[in-house]
């Protein structure tokens, strides 16, 4: 690495101390500063990540050794059953595992933590457009935390209808123990998360549209911002549908409207249903949100990975505009493929065929992205820092997760693999091996900006190595399980003689999952130790171009100690016309240089 520091602003003098007056509570708790809110989101979601991971271990324990006593926690939780997991508890485990991972971890860590932290810094704003709204969007997570948290402890013990909550199971209270109060709490919790995300996404869109620094044109935005912007649009248009669906399910459950249940339906001696409703209606509404939501859960990761890869390849991002268009393409197509979750649901098969075609098409923009990442590292000067390794692993793993999507998009094949572990393999490859790995990378990458100190790179690499190896040991064999036809959501798969021979493979997976969770301790320790004792970072430790690296680390209140003016895009690494191998967005061009001045005149209100 060359040792030139960020051109014009070398002094870090008043970095970090810039928080203006006000007590601890208003500065760190009810803060309206986007950076504090971002960090609040980060901590909350990491804690839930741990909870979700532990629930996953419960799932794995049962799949490998059904009905055997869980060590340590077994006695505490189910002394009555001799430490065994009951089938309804198992159902609850994976339902809540997925709910927490998706609604409390991946979505809020991407949009809430990184979106909040990075958007104003990367576009040159002093804060979000609506700081109070931003604060509210964090505090609306808490009722959700509280409600979902309580749902574990009320009678019935956690929702048990899968994270997809298909009626009638989720609607008829008698259908499952978890369909009493816990399902109601689940719905309320999801609604709160929805309101929070809604507030956030409106704020992000307004900020990105209106508060870019002079010269920061749309096509000079970093990919992270493009991804956050388009994700916010996805949220804004998809989430209201889930909210509406949630209300529909709530009224069906609470007052007995008839939207989702067919006439006179009786489940487990319940009162006959009144309506003439359609169970498939929920699936359509749910997936109309939740398919776009899977892209909500990957696009920001793709954006951040693009930034990291370009920075550590010391080379401009390959095909910036195609990258932008492909994100937009994924988002647009994402609204017309929801039916691929319903190929065998009883939906009209002709409709299934059209959804199949649109699903095939959506692989196309993803292909463009993958090839452009490959183009970026081709001919670069790759630096294998921890964030770079995580970013590269994202690309490598996303390919696996995406390609398994092609199997399922092929309708006849989906007949066989639908609701088997093939699907489980698919979405853990995109969600954990993809997004979560990108998130780890992003934490290592922006940690110096957030806390002013570096994380330990060697331990980071150990963490990367173990996580990378173990996650593949956990999730890759699931493809094979799926090929055998091993169904998901089974409390005791070995009830079927055919699946008994899969026992050893399942045990292997569980051992690896245990190790996978355990090795995260390295990350946790590194994280906390570095906050307090890491080496000081300086403004631009990675010699990156992005505007955020021109601000102090950590940035004070108002973010910048100068008026940001932008002269070029964020990926001008290795420009032969400058001495350093990077060319910050804020660095003025040499006098007389023609093309790179701020394009638009500053406008103020």
């Amino acid at each position: 690495m060359s040792s030139i520091d960020a051109g014009t602003h070398a002094a870090d003098a008043h970095a970090g101390e810039g928080h203006h007056g006000g007590g601890f509570i208003s500065t760190y708790v009810f803060s309206r500063d986007h950076k504090i809110i971002g960090i609040q989101f980060l901590f909350s979601t990491l804690v839930w990540f741990l909870v979700g991971g532990l629930l996953a271990l419960g799932v794995r324990w049962q799949v490998a050794w059904p009905w055997s006593e869980m060590p340590v926690v077994g006695k505490m939780l189910f002394s009555a059953e001799g430490g065994q997991i009951s089938p309804e508890f198992y159902t609850m485990l994976f339902t809540m595992h997925a709910t927490i991972m998706i609604f409390f971890v991946i979505i809020p860590i991407l949009a809430g933590a990184f979106g909040n932290y990075l958007i104003p810094l990367m576009i040159g704003a002093d804060d979000m457009a609506f700081p109070t709204l931003n604060m509210l969007s964090y505090w609306f997570m808490w009722p959700a935390f509280a409600v979902i948290g309580t749902s574990f402890f009320v009678e019935g013990g956690g929702a048990q209808a899968g994270w997809t909550s298909y009626p009638p199971l989720s609607v008829v209270q008698e259908a499952a123990p978890g369909s009493h109060l816990p399902q109601t709490l689940w719905l309320i919790g999801i609604t709160f998360v929805g309101v929070s995300s809604m507030m956030g996404s409106i704020n992000y869109m307004t900020t990105i549209i209106q508060m870019r620094a002079p010269g920061m044109t749309m096509f000079r935005l970093p990919m992270t911002i493009w991804a956050m912007f388009i994700t916010a649009i996805l949220q804004a248009f998809a989430l209201p549908v889930l909210t509406a669906a949630g209300f529909i399910q709530l009224t069906d459950r609470m007052i007995g409207t008839g939207f989702l249940l067919p006439e006179y339906l009786v489940v487990n001696n319940s009162d006959p249903a009144s309506g003439g409703g359609q169970p498939l209606l929920w699936q359509h509404l749910f997936w109309f949100y939740s398919h776009p939501a899977v892209y909500i859960m990957i696009l920001p990761a793709m954006g951040m990975v693009s930034d990291m890869i370009s920075c550590f390849a010391r080379k401009p991002l390959f095909g910036y505009k195609p990258m932008v268009y492909s994100i937009a393409g994924i988002a647009g197509l994402g609204f017309i493929v929801w039916g691929h979750h319903m190929f065998v649901s009883g939906m009209n098969p002709a409709l299934g065929m059209t959804f199949m075609v649109s699903t095939m098409l959506i692989a196309l923009p993803s292909a463009i992205k993958v090839f452009n990442w490959l183009g970026t590292i081709w001919g670069g000067n790759l630096q294998f820092t921890t964030p770079m390794l995580f970013a590269l692993s994202f690309v490598s793993m996303f390919i696996i997760g995406g390609l398994s999507g092609i199997f399922m998009a092929a309708t006849p094949v989906d007949i066989f693999i639908h609701d088997t572990y093939f699907i489980v393999a698919h979405f853990h490859y995109v969600l954990f091996s993809g997004t979560a790995m990108a998130v780890f990378g992003a934490i290592y990458f922006w940690f110096p900006k957030m806390f002013g100190r570096m994380m330990n790179d060697s331990w980071g690499k150990v963490h990367f190595f173990l996580t990378f190896v173990l996650l593949n040991c956990v999730f890759f064999p699931m493809h094979i399980l799926g090929a055998v036809g091993f169904p998901r959501r089974l409390a005791d798969p070995y009830h079927y003689a055919t699946f008994r021979e899969l026992g050893p493979l399942n045990e292997f997976i569980t051992y690896c999952a245990l190790a996978l969770v355990a090795c995260q301790a390295i990350f946790v320790v590194n994280f906390f130790v570095s906050i307090f004792f890491g080496p000081k970072a300086g403004r631009n430790p990675w010699h990156a171009n992005g505007l955020e690296w021109a601000a102090p680390s950590p940035p004070g209140h108002g973010n910048f100690d100068f008026q940001p003016l932008i002269y070029r895009g964020p990926y001008e690494y290795g420009d032969p016309s400058v001495d350093a191998d990077y060319y910050p967005q804020t660095q003025p061009p040499p006098p007389g240089h023609p093309e790179t001045r701020p394009e638009a005149a500053p406008v103020t209100y």
Partner: protein
């Protein structure tokens, strides 16, 4: 160290391919297919496996190679200062597009055969899912379902081989999914709806009926069995079931009377 990282990424395609190659030898593979149309589904699976396999190996090896060749220890030249390439973008847009469209069109016939072209025959049986069992109903001697002489049975489905079979599948309470792994059949059953599955089995034997849609705490034990047998055996079995059912019916009516 840089070499180690590159090799680690090379391990992905190596072990990935090895896993798929080894799995069939451990008998961890698609279950035995005993149906006519299953061949097409398996063929599509294998076709996509080969195709994505090539893409997988190609892209993963590319990652490895670029890591190996262009890391800052090895690559002494300055990074290529380039922002993209129009012709490359075109290539890697059009090529995958063509492949994907091909897959899309190639599979349509199999899908239509499995889900759209329902044969014009009378249903052999009606299968109704409920928490947590499969209720079965065969038409009695009159050959029509929904009449007084229907034959009832639970979890133990018998079907003739070597001929097209049509089943009505329904649900009485929540969602279930009627999954016959060995016949490559899966259909969610939805209360309030009536669905059909059809197939032609070509081997005799006993196979699992699996419930593949979460339906409550007992989802895991909602297991049934399908016995595929020759037409004669099937007819004999059905006749015997009919006798038995009539006998028990008489029993109960005399008991009541």
């Amino acid at each position: 160290m840089n070499k180690v990282w590159s090799l680690l990424f090379l391990a992905v395609p190596v072990f990935g391919v090895a896993t798929f190659v080894a799995a069939p030898y451990f008998n961890h593979w698609l279950p035995r297919d005993v149906s006519e149309h299953g061949r097409m589904i398996d063929h599509l699976f294998m076709f996509i496996l080969w195709l994505t396999g090539f893409v997988f190996v190609g892209t993963e090896v590319a990652i490895f190679w670029f890591m190996w060749r262009y890391n800052d220890r090895v690559n002494r030249e300055p990074a290529r200062f380039m922002h993209g390439s129009h012709s490359l973008e075109l290539v890697w847009t059009i090529l995958p597009a063509a492949i994907l469209l091909f897959i899309a069109i190639y599979q349509m016939d199999a899908w239509a055969g499995s889900k759209m072209r329902r044969p014009d025959i009378a249903p052999t049986a009606e299968v109704t899912g409920r928490q947590f069992e499969w209720r079965l109903r065969y038409p009695g001697p009159d050959g029509v379902l929904d009449t007084a002489d229907d034959i009832h049975h639970v979890n133990d489905l018998h079907l003739p081989v070597g001929e097209e079979v049509l089943l009505v599948v329904k649900s009485e309470d929540v969602l279930h999914s009627f999954f016959l792994p060995n016949l490559r059949i899966k259909q969610d059953v939805v209360p309030g709806m009536k669905q059909y599955v059809w197939f032609k089995a070509n081997e005799t034997g006993q196979f699992d009926i699996v419930c593949a849609e979460l339906c409550g705490w007992g989802h895991y034990k909602m297991k049934g069995q399908v016995t595929l047998e020759s037409r004669e055996e099937f007819d004999a079995w059905l006749a015997q079931q009919y006798e038995q059912e009539q006998a028990t019916l008489e029993q109960t009516t005399t008991d009541e009377g």
